[in-house]
Structures are given as C-alpha cells and as structure tokens.
Symmetry: none
Subunit: 249 residues, 2 copies
C-alpha cells in the first residue's frame, strides 16, 4: 500500500469517526504503530487532522470553541420554544420556570401577546420585562447562585398561593421509567411546588435528555400534560412517552 493512499485512508477514518486510535489504525492498515504515528504527525502538520496523545481527532472535534454560541444547542431550544408558544392563549396566566430552554421561550414571546406571567427565574423575569403586554410577577425566595432562581420555603409557600393555567418547566433529567429527576434536592422541592401550582404542566426538554436520570425525583411522567422536544412528533424516541398519554408537540 502506498504511503499516500494510507494517509488518505487515515484522514477518511478520522473525518468519519471524529476520533481514532493509533493502535486501531495500525491494525487496520497493517503497518507498525510507528508508521501510523509518522503519518499522523505529517497529516497534523498539514492541518488535515489534529494529533493527540494516543490517536487523532478531526478538526471540527478539536476546534471546540473559537466563538461558540452562548447557549448549548440553542437552535434546538428555539425550536422547542416556538412549538411551546402554540399552546399560549391570550390573557392566560402562565408560569415560566428557569433554565435555558424556558429562557428561550420567554425571549421569543411576541411583543403583542397579553399574558400574566409568574416566574422564579431572574433571567426570565428580565426578559419578560421587555415585553410591554406581559404582567410579570416574581416568586420571591432564596436565590440559587448557579441556577438564578428562587428556591426554599418562601418560594414554595408563595407558589402554594397561586394556580396558573399553564406552567412551562424544564428538567435536568427525564426518563420514561424514572420520570423527571434532578441533581439537587432543593430544585426538586421547588419544581414540585410549581407543578402543584399549575392546572396543566408542560415539559420543555431537548431530546438528548430523554433516557437520563439522577438521584432526586421531581415527579412521574404522568403528571406532565404536554411534552415539547425538538423532535418531530412521530419520532420513535417519543413512542414510549406517547403510551403514557402525554401530549407530544
């Protein structure tokens, strides 16, 4: 096998799988590991891939972030937010949870929509204040430093005093069997209170979270009325959720 040919094969392999081990390449191409190493070194010098300890990764994989967007998977979250907006009726009373997906919803709410909107999230509240026709009510409480939402007993108490038409919530983890779970007990307590304060609960979650779980449980999936993901409603990943009688958007 020609050297050129072999190097071409290496680049192909890297582009295909994003990452590759030198040992695998050596075996596959039936040359010594040193040869592969030399090849990869050359290809790295030509900027066709990035050599790393033990293997090589594709350029896209390595160039993690020259200028990545602020929010992870923002495009997907935008899709979710737009779908969720179709549930909104004029003059209804809703609650918007924290998290980047819910924040995206708040951001995309049209200027002319008339709503009464509760929230526990500082960033969401900021966003809502920019909408002239939305009355915003902040649920007070002890603020969590990293999630920037109200938590604790006073938030839970405040939530016990209200009943909104729809609440839009996010979750850390969601699984057909284990339901909605979180990494933090306080957040679970707060989310429970949110769900109790809602006639209908809408879960916003990107599909990557489906099938993940953590230690503290917020609720079973059957208390969720509607689930919104970025997937098409007929996607097979959603089949299990449909069986639970959850409305999928």
């Amino acid at each position: 096998m020609l050297k050129e040919e072999r190097q071409h094969a290496i680049v192909n392999e890297v582009e295909l799988h994003n990452r590759v081990l030198l040992t695998d390449l050596a075996e596959k191409l039936d040359v010594s590991i040193d040869t592969v190493r030399r090849d990869v070194k050359e290809l790295d010098a030509e900027n066709l891939l990035v050599k790393v300890h033990g293997g090589a990764v594709s350029l896209g994989f390595a160039n993690h972030s020259p200028q990545r967007s602020n929010v992870y998977a923002q495009d997907k979250k935008m899709v979710i937010a737009k779908k969720a907006m179709t549930l909104l009726k004029m003059n209804s009373v809703i609650l918007i949870d924290g998290g980047t997906t819910c924040l995206e919803l708040a951001r995309l709410l049209p200027q002319n929509i008339k709503l009464t909107c509760f929230t526990l999230s500082l960033p969401v509240a900021m966003e809502l204040l920019g909408k002239p026709n939305i009355e915003t009510i902040f649920i007070g409480g002890t603020l969590s430093r990293d999630s920037q939402i109200s938590m604790g007993s006073s938030a839970i108490h405040a939530l016990s005093q209200i009943k909104v038409d729809y609440s839009f919530i996010g979750t850390g983890y969601v699984d057909v069997e284990f339901g909605l779970t979180e990494f933090d007990w306080d957040i679970v307590q707060t989310k429970k209170a949110v769900i109790n304060a809602s006639k209908k609960t809408v879960l916003l979650s990107i599909s990557e979270k489906l099938g993940s779980q953590h230690r503290f449980k917020t609720c079973d999936l059957n208390v969720i009325n509607t689930m919104v993901t970025e997937l098409e409603p007929w996607d097979e990943k959603l089949d299990a959720f449909k069986k639970l009688n959850i409305h999928i958007l």
Copy 2:
C-alpha cells in the same frame, strides 16, 4: 478512550444538564475522580465550563454578565456606595433597594463579605449573585417594568414578614421639610414597607436631589437614621439635615 474524547463528553454533559458532579462523571466515563478533576481543571482554563467545588457548571449557567450601563453621575454614586459600605458589619442582615445608587452599592460589595441580603430589585439581585459569600433573598411581587423592582401587595406582605438590621434605600426626591417623596404611589407604598421592615434605614442620595420634592410622600426625614451623599460631612448643604438628628456620612 482518548483524553480529548472524554473532555468532549464532559463539556457535553455539563452543557446538557447545566451542572454535574465530578463523582458522577468519573463513574459515567469510567476513570478515576482525579482524572476527571484534571480534565475539568483544563476545561475550566479553556473557558469551556466553570469548575465549582464538587463539580462543574456550564458557562451560560454561571455567567452573571454584570453589564455596566451608563449610569448618570456614576462616580458620585460610587463615592456614596463606598461610604455606605462602612456601615456594614459581618454577618448582618440587610436590604438593598432598587435604583442606580443602590445597585452601585451591590456592585461594590467585596467578594469576601458575609451577609444575608434581601432585595426587591432584579439588577441588584443579579449583582449579588456574583458575590460568593452573600445569601440573597428576593422579595417577590409584581414587577415594575421601568424600575425593575417588586411592588404591589404581595411584595408588601413579604416585607411585613421580615426585619433586617439595615436597609439601604434610594428616593426620587428628598427635602428637609417634605421628607422623601416620589412620583409614583406604588413605589411609595413599597418603600414604606421596606422602612417598616428595617431596624435602621440608610438613605443613599446624590446631593442634587436635596431640596427636591414630588407629589407622594414616603416618609418624613426623622425615620431616616443615616444619610449618605457624595458631599463631605461638613458641607453646608447638609446642615439642615444634621439638625434633624440624622447621622451624616
């Protein structure tokens, strides 16, 4: 598994769930906790996530972007804020009102000061979340679009439940004879409740406001314990206030 691959997975996990524990990562990726710790340290150095005790949080989650807007007379307000800070004792419970001067106070609070801090103002709350040793409690309520603070009956009710050591308040107008006045009735109501919730009340005001008045009265000057302006304490403009037995800073 390649190191790069693993780090990629870590960033992904963090972005997806906003916060992760090192122990969970170690288990999931099947490496020792030290390796995960080293990875997270590197990724933190590359600004791909933020390392915290016990885990990591995503950038979007942790970044309280303290946007510095152009504030009128900011230098004077900074002087006021710095003076006001001399009143703060460790571990005390305070309340910070809305307004740009109070916001400046929140901004200038040192990273190491330990406080429990109530506020009704969204921008102040945002700022306080950036201070690691301050417990921030937000007083919920209907948010005012232009002042970005909680108002209305629920805010007033929440205030009636607390008693802080010091409250730092601003005012629209202040005059020796007419006391503190505002152009908005709701704000007056809220400020009254703030003053009632405080053992001691500190008024922060730039000297330009001295001798001005408006239609709704918050309180007389005698309920103010301390007044902070950018002027030197012996400035003659303050003489009238000294006669009212107000402590001048």
